[in-house]
């Protein structure tokens, strides 16, 4: 009961006009920053951090600035889906999986369905995660502590396993794509040996590695666009989506069809999110993979299945709430955005850590209360803006295409602030187009670039710990079962293939 009283109290605080206004403003800012390819929650939060001092001066507490930044974080998670669905460019790594089915839906003239599904799934994911957060925060923090290097590596293996079936029909080309992404992920600086590696032609631009967005915007923003331009041939609009409040209401009523994906995404996303170092991206990928595995019509995934939109979208919102947990209770960030939030908390004079909940209840409870409220605001704002996004899709293609190109280029620059990455992005894009013509699937490479930089160091840190003995992944109580499940999932398709061949 204590929790409920504290929560109600916190919600009342969060509902004060000033805090409510901040939450609203934060959600709107986040929505737009998130919808912009290249910019994600991390940019929004980092850029607005200095202004939170002013907010703190006005309100006199650290809660108001945090409510503002958390609202940006939420808004951006909703916004990421918008560019994934309407433009086909994942605005941030957390929204990659949303493109898999969101884009085909948009191309089939069902962008409204995809956007509404994404918004409601995000809301449910966020709210389920909030409930879990409210009820079990301190208990869950100890789970995060039990996740050492071998456990995180096992989890990454599991993430790989869940999307092993995402490639195309051409097996060697899919394998090539996965490995290529994993190799690209090692470019730059090796933290274990402390040496730079794979610095091609000794160009310093490679020393920070091949960033996810450089490849993703190149592949989706440039490569896919060139493909679409070529396929469209004439100046037709991208899709024939009609918009009216009625269709949106209809789609809202049709949402329950995506309950399965939402349920999987909400829970899986939250639990992956609370594990430090994992974050929302693996969470959304795994949710997509699992939703496909348990679906009664897995063959529809990748061609415009609502579960395929609902699962990753509910997961990335659930995971972003989950990632707040280790940040607040352990003082460690589970994602780049929470790293900046953490910096903010420190600057405002708070000490995140195991004692935060007991020593700073005046900070914690209004913040948790605001999580619920921000989610409601984000849902309403998002649904209200859907017609605007649909209108964008109805622009003539010869206007939309150059806009997307400019967005891709400026967005890449804004994300990393150097021209080298922009050149690399465009070159990747042109290369992606040429490979696409020959049926090379590129999504696996994009996903590998996200997971590789987490998986490789964790593998090597674990083996340092065990003196190079691989049994560490099997003998530890948490890592063991995860590794075994992952290996089974990886081998399953292979076994199926052999089985069907043997029967023939």
């Amino acid at each position: 009961m204590d929790i409920l009283v504290s929560l109600a109290d916190g919600m009342l605080q969060a509902l004060q006009p000033f805090n409510l206004g901040l939450a609203f403003l934060g959600v709107v800012v986040g929505l737009f920053v998130g919808a912009m390819p290249g910019l994600g929650s991390v940019n929004g939060v980092a850029i607005l951090l200095p202004f939170t001092f002013v907010i703190q001066d006005i309100s006199g507490s650290a809660t108001s600035p945090m409510i503002f930044l958390a609202a940006i974080y939420y808004g951006a998670m909703y916004g990421g889906a918008i560019s994934s669905i309407t433009l086909g460019i994942p605005g941030a790594s957390t929204a990659v999986a949303t493109t898999f089915d969101g884009r085909p839906l948009a191309l089939a003239g069902k962008a409204d369905k995809a956007l509404v599904t994404a918004a409601i799934a995000s809301f449910i994911g966020g709210t389920v995660a909030n409930l879990l957060f409210t009820g079990f925060a301190p208990a869950l923090a100890s789970i995060a502590l039990d996740f050492g290097n071998p456990e995180v590596f096992a989890l990454m293996l599991l993430a790989f396993a869940t999307f092993v079936g995402l490639g195309g029909d051409d097996i060697p080309k899919t394998i090539f794509s996965i490995c290529f992404g994993l190799v690209l992920a090692t470019v730059g600086f090796d933290i274990i040996s402390g040496e730079p590696r794979l610095i091609f032609f000794e160009i310093t631009g490679f020393s920070h590695g091949i960033r996810f967005l450089v490849l993703a915007i190149g592949v989706y923003g440039i490569g896919e666009m060139l493909w679409t331009i070529n396929a469209a041939k004439d100046n037709t609009a991208m899709t024939e989506t009609k918009m009216s409040p009625k269709t949106i209401l209809r789609e809202i009523r049709a949402f329950p069809a995506a309950w399965k994906g939402t349920a999987i995404g909400s829970t899986l996303g939250f639990f992956v999110g609370i594990l430090p170092a994992a974050g929302a991206t693996p969470g959304s990928l795994m949710a997509y993979g699992v939703a496909k595995m348990v679906s009664r019509r897995p063959e529809r995934f990748g061609k415009g299945e609502v579960d395929g939109v609902a699962a990753p979208e509910s997961a990335n919102n659930a995971a972003s709430t989950g990632a707040m947990l280790p940040m607040m209770t352990l003082g460690i960030p589970g994602s780049p955005t929470t790293a900046v939030l953490l910096a903010g908390m420190v600057i405002w004079g708070l000490q995140p850590g195991p004692l935060l909940f007991t020593e700073q209840p005046d900070f914690v409870w209004p913040l948790i209360g605001s999580f619920y409220i921000s989610n409601v605001i984000a849902l309403v704002v998002n649904l209200a803006f859907i017609p605007v996004f649909l209108w964008m899709l109805r622009m003539p293609f010869t206007i939309l295409a150059p806009l997307i190109f400019v967005l891709s280029i400026v967005g890449t620059y804004a994300a990393y602030q150097n021209m080298f990455d922009v050149w690399l992005m465009v070159l990747f894009g042109l290369g992606a187009y040429l490979l696409r013509v020959l049926d090379y699937p590129l999504a696996p490479a994009v996903l590998a670039v996200v997971l590789g930089p987490i998986a490789e160091p964790k593998l090597r840190q674990s083996l340092l710990l065990s003196d190079g003995d691989f049994s560490i992944f099997f003998t530890r109580p948490i890592a063991g079962p995860i590794t075994v499940i992952a290996i089974i999932l990886i081998l399953l398709p292979l076994a199926k293939l052999l089985w069907s061949k043997a029967r023939r």
Binding site: F176, C179, V183, R197, I229, P396, D439, S462, L464, G468
Partner: protein, 176 residues
């Protein structure tokens, strides 16, 4: 398309070999380091720094050989297709659109993002899209202005200005 399939597989195979070669490189400060010393398991430590990229590049090479084998057997759609790899239309599109992107980037170094944006929009909208002059001008002006306020002013992300930088100093005075 059939020829393009094998040419691409060979090129990607060469890329894999280059990546394997590059993975074996030792640290730059140590002229005595031996190439490929880092690709195996180091006793008591686990994989070296080149382990992961080297062996994955090898798998890339193998998958290229596999693609080549499929090509020889004529199993995959591209290896059966008599269509040209890039149609006349696709080639023209690549040259006009892809080429304009390269020019866009090059222009950023000279006249900055905003100047290059204007040139790109005028080229794309007027010459590729055949839009009316008022519409072209409206978009070519509105987007850079909006971008300036969004990125430079609101988000505090300073986009490169190239040689047009002096023109922006008065704007900084007013808005920043």
């Amino acid at each position: 398309m059939r020829r393009a399939e094998i040419v691409t597989a060979v090129l990607l195979g060469l890329l894999s070999i280059y990546l394997m070669w590059k993975s074996g490189e030792g640290p730059s400060w140590d002229p005595d380091s031996v190439r490929f010393a880092n690709i195996g398991m180091i006793e008591g430590e686990g994989p070296g720094s080149g382990f992961w990229p080297f062996w994955l590049s090898l798998i890339m090479l193998i998958s290229c050989l596999w693609t080549g084998f499929n090509w020889w057997r004529g199993k995959t759609p591209p290896s059966q297709s008599d269509q040209p790899y890039l149609s006349q239309h696709a080639k023209r599109m690549l040259l006009r659109v892809g080429g304009s992107l390269i020019v866009f980037l090059a222009l950023i170094h000279v006249i900055g993002v905003y100047g290059a944006m204007v040139v790109f929009f005028v080229y794309y909208l007027r010459f590729l899209g055949h839009h009316s002059i008022p519409r072209t001008v409206a978009i070519a002006v509105a987007v850079p202005v909006f971008s300036f306020f969004f990125f430079d002013v609101a988000m505090r992300i300073v986009l490169p200005k190239g040689y047009l930088e002096p023109l922006f100093i008065p704007l900084y005075d007013i808005f920043l």
